[in-house]
């Protein structure tokens, strides 16, 4: 291994096949208590045509094998708990363990969403307190906690705008979306029944306010803005942008994906934003879990409140809380039951830990991003030089000269013991390296990251091949994604396995798929 690599050391991990390949009839990992009522004949109860005799090829393994199987798989993952995860726009911060604990309490995890409201006051109080906290943080008037994720929050927000405009007689046709936006923005606008008009950023990466005022016509329902933008830059002219929209009767939607740069510092509600979503799995620390679950509450100004999705949390006289499902102007229901409640519990636990001190988290996040920027500026190309907030976007322009691109640098970063940054996004920066350290990184971890990025820049100049063929230290090398898409294999198929395969064969097969040691050339 290169002497430059300080954070990571090669270490053995275990091979493991698919669980289906370990199965053998008669093994089991779970036993039920004995049946305390008379047993029945399923064929007789269900009718012969509804009866199923067991699920074919379902795994049959023991408990220790289950534990080892999934523990081995887990060791093949990188995670926040192992180190810095500088994925820009994803806000990979520490996920406090107490949040996991309280979400699993008896009386929290055990509650049925259709149980009587008088037996659910604890759950409803949690929801109410979280609503109030998020309103205070965003400076908005009203909120729904229903949406299951950011994208569903976006949809809810646009449906609120549509309902509001419809009520005034014209839902309008278009939603304006900057070219720097997340892909969910345009995909969502289409589901809400709007045409997407993309708008180009001006040369500093901000919204071109002059051009915007030309584009905002009576056909425009809303502008979806991300602030700070995906370049990590605050849209300074956002109050003016809001005025332009409002003058034409259009509304301002804010994608709150980057709220980690603002919490405790400034409030979207004060900036003229009409409606926004929050990603609780970003700013409010609920774990990503390999891709969810999240939650995407939507906060709004009073004008949109009548259209909120049902059920709506209401306080009755005497302080009793209730959920109301009949609201004539509501956009309807966006998800069954009361949102991703368990995620909402975790977010509240996070807010309670900080209180007003959440500002310190924001300050540290911005401090880390600027510290990294300072040390990598000049080593990597900085296409937009406006001040950074919680993340910084470089490009691979310097390294491209040696044939090394952002993906290569990202893959080499793996050998240095880090998860890659976000590659090739935002789309307005060719070969983007989008780095968001979050407040969870110590100075020491930031320094190691800077070291690693500098070392890779040197490698890219001295030995580009080393970078282009990275990673060199992982279980598997770069994977054939084109082949995977051309002939998709999306499930294990018993019938496709070699006939008469016995245990010995399987072991032999396993050995063949073992990674062979690879020595990097430097």
């Amino acid at each position: 291994m290169s002497k430059r690599i300080k954070k990571a050391t090669r270490h053995t991990n275990q091979n493991e096949g698919l669980i289906f390949e370990k199965s053998s009839p008669g093994k089991r990992a779970f036993e039920l208590p004995p049946l305390d009522v008379p047993s029945v004949d399923p064929a007789k109860m269900l009718g012969a045509n509804h009866r199923r005799d067991g699920v074919e090829h379902f795994p049959e393994v023991s408990e220790i094998e289950v534990i080892r199987h999934f523990t081995r798989l887990s060791t093949w993952n990188y995670a926040i708990d192992l180190g810095m995860y500088p994925l820009g726009s994803c806000t990979m911060k520490y996920n406090p363990r107490v949040n996991e604990f309280v979400a699993r309490l008896d009386g929290i995890a055990t509650e049925h969403p259709l149980q009587p409201l008088e037996l659910s006051q604890g759950c409803l109080k949690i929801l109410r307190l979280l609503e109030n906290c998020l309103l205070e943080i965003t400076g908005m008037d009203s909120i729904t906690l229903q949406p299951a994720a950011g994208a569903q929050g976006e949809l809810t927000g646009l449906l609120l705008i549509r309902a509001y405009l419809e009520k005034q007689g014209n839902a309008r046709k278009k939603v304006l979306i900057p070219d720097s936006a997340h892909g969910t923005n345009p995909a969502t606008a289409v589901i809400a029944g709007y045409e997407v008009q993309n708008i180009k950023s001006e040369s500093h990466g901000q919204i071109d306010v002059g051009k915007l005022s030309e584009l905002v016509t009576e056909d425009v329902a809303a502008l979806m803005i991300t602030n700070p933008s995906t370049l990590g830059i605050f849209e300074e002219r956002i109050p003016e942008i809001a005025e332009i929209l409002h003058a034409k009767g259009a509304l301002l939607y804010m994608d709150g994906a980057n709220m980690n740069a603002l919490a405790g510092i400034a409030r979207p509600g004060d900036l003229g934003v009409d409606v926004m979503h929050l990603n609780l799995h970003k700013t409010f620390s609920t774990p990503h879990g390999g891709g969810g679950p999240g939650a995407g509450p939507v906060a709004m100004k009073n004008i949109l409140a009548p259209f909120r999705p049902v059920p709506i949390l209401v306080e009755k006289q005497g302080g009793q809380l209730t959920l109301e499902s009949v609201r004539p102007d509501s956009i309807g229901r966006v998800k069954s039951f009361s949102g991703n409640f368990g995620v909402l519990v975790r977010a509240l636990a996070y807010i309670l830990a900080y209180g007003p001190g959440i500002r310190q988290a924001t300050e540290d996040a911005v401090l880390n991003a600027n510290y990294i920027r300072k040390h990598l500026e000049g080593v990597y190309d900085l296409p937009y030089s406006l001040p950074s907030m919680h993340e910084v976007v470089f490009s691979d322009a310097f390294q491209k000269k040696n044939g090394v691109n952002t993906m290569d640098i990202a893959k080499r970063l793996i050998d240095y013991g880090f998860h890659p940054y976000t590659t090739a996004f935002p789309l307005i920066v060719p070969g983007a390296l989008m780095i968001e350290p979050t407040e969870s990184e110590s100075k020491e971890e930031c320094d190691l990251f800077i070291d690693a990025m500098r070392a890779i820049a040197e490698e890219a100049a001295e030995n580009p091949e080393l970078v282009k063929t990275a990673p060199h230290s992982t279980r598997v090398r770069r994977l054939d994604e084109v082949g995977a898409a051309r002939k998709p294999i999306l499930r294990w198929d018993a019938s496709r396995q070699p006939a008469g395969e016995d245990h010995q064969h399987r072991h032999k097969h396993a050995r063949q798929t073992e990674p062979t040691p690879v020595t990097p050339t430097a």
């Binding site: 906290c133 009361s338 309670l352 900080y354 969870s440």
Partner: protein
């Protein structure tokens, strides 16, 4: 603050390195007049012990100590402690969506196993990982059927979960879909004559739930034949996934939209759960959501990657099959661990216990004078009973005996105010069932 790994001196050192005089300088792009001058009015900061105390107090205000007979899309099942131990491993819990395949093979292989398990259970050929819940999975299945057929009318059984129908209507309103509801008959199943009459060449899909909201199993092979004869697709929604341990899967259906909550996820006041869409290979490019595929690395070793991403929003933007990004990955992992623990025999036994307990509960309840089973069709672990009085009044009485009674159906089906949906699972003891029957008997005696 215990989550922040910096000393005051380190902050100063870093500021100095940046060349900033104070932290406020880093926020100089935010116009002065919009910067908060006062601290936010938030409760806290609280220590770990205080946070636990707060949530324990809230928990005590909920239903602890009550026995429940609620199902209706959310089920209480046995869960091994192993599942939580695995999904709380930091390597799974605190990992991102596995875009960087070389360092997320653990998540990717687990997703591949999840997809396989879902295919085996549903009898389908391809399954995604994952959708937000059963209601949004059902809605996305309908939107998928619209893309496959190019048609815009959708027929929905009135016995589909009422909240699923609500969500579908919210999405349909602006996507040019017309939703039409079809009634159920005296046996609780979809009325086939109404289906035949409503089927025209503009119908994209029929949506039925099985077991349906009233607990009754639908005849999937027959429905498929009728629907296919009109060139439409059959979408089958499943809310009680444990049924698949003993009930024949809807293999003939074109799309299955399933709620996976029953596989190792607690009720958690309605979420997070795990939705899934399963379908035929030929429709895979119209599917929404994440898919993991098997491939090889540059040295020929087996590995897994997220694949067919050209369907997804981060590549296709406004032309994507769905706007879904963050899904319910950890819930899908929990289901994978849970089902692996249960295994073939465990799942079959669990399902058979549900069947036996439901039959026992039905027998006990219908011994009570005036209590009848409402629908004749076959059922799994939920069934509808008709009482001589309003189900709400009976439930009010049961609460006094610390029983959360079966779900009154009047709110969603005005013609069924005297009816309630009873759910029993392997977690419901014989004694619980006997207490319920005794409670209902007393409630009716009192009420009369």
């Amino acid at each position: 603050m215990r989550y922040l790994p910096k000393s005051p001196a380190e902050r100063q050192e870093m500021l100095a390195a940046i060349g900033a005089g104070s932290i406020d300088e880093l926020f100089s792009t935010i116009p002065e007049r919009f910067r908060l001058r006062q601290a936010l009015k938030l409760p806290g900061p609280f220590s770990e012990a205080e946070i636990i105390e707060y949530f324990k107090e809230r928990a005590a205000e909920n239903s602890v100590g009550y026995t429940s007979f609620l199902g209706a899309g959310v089920y209480n099942h046995l869960r091994s402690v192993v599942t939580d131990a695995i999904i709380q491993r930091g390597e799974f819990l605190t990992s991102y969506t596995p875009y960087q395949a070389e360092i997320t093979q653990g998540t990717l292989q687990a997703i591949f196993e999840f997809q396989t398990l879902m295919c085996q259970l549903t009898g389908q050929e391809v399954a995604n990982a994952s959708m937000w819940d059963g209601s949004t999975a059902t809605t996305e299945a309908v939107l998928m059927a619209e893309r496959v057929t190019g048609r815009t009318r959708v027929l929905v059984a009135r016995s589909l979960h009422p909240e699923y129908r609500d969500v579908l209507r919210t999405y349909a309103k602006n996507s040019g879909l017309q939703v039409e509801e079809l009634p159920f008959s005296a046996d609780g199943m979809l009325t086939q004559s109404n289906l035949r009459a409503a089927l025209r060449d503009d119908v994209a899909a029929l949506v039925v739930q099985s077991p349906n909201f009233l607990g009754v199993l639908e005849s999937v092979p027959e429905l498929t034949e009728i629907v296919h004869s009109a060139g439409a697709l059959l979408v089958v929604a499943i809310t009680e996934a444990v049924s698949l341990g003993v009930v024949r899967p809807p293999a003939e259906a074109d799309i299955v939209a399933m709620e996976g909550q029953s596989f190792g996820l607690p009720p958690s006041y309605g979420g997070p759960f795990g939705g899934v869409i399963a379908s035929k290979d030929k429709f895979v490019r119209q599917m929404p959501g994440r898919l993991a595929g098997q491939t090889t690395d540059t040295e020929g070793r087996r590995g897994f990657v997220l694949t067919l991403a050209t369907r997804e929003q981060h590549i296709r933007r406004e032309k994507a099959t769905s706007n879904i990004c963050t899904n319910q990955a950890l819930c899908a992992l929990a289901a994978t661990v849970h089902l692996t623990l249960l295994g073939k025999e465990g799942l079959r036994e669990m399902a058979e216990q549900n069947l036996a307990k439901a039959q026992f509960a039905l027998a006990e309840l219908t011994k009570i004078p005036g209590v009848h089973r409402t629908f004749r069709g076959p059922f799994f672990n939920e069934f509808t009973i008709e009482l001589p009085r309003s189900a709400r009044i009976v439930n009010g009485y049961l609460l006094r005996e610390k029983i959360v009674g079966p779900l009154p159906l009047g709110q969603n089906y005005p013609e069924l105010t005297k009816n309630a949906l009873v759910c029993v699972t392997e977690t419901t003891s014989r004694e619980d069932i006997e207490r319920l029957a005794a409670g209902v008997r007393r409630a009716l005696e009192q009420a009369l």
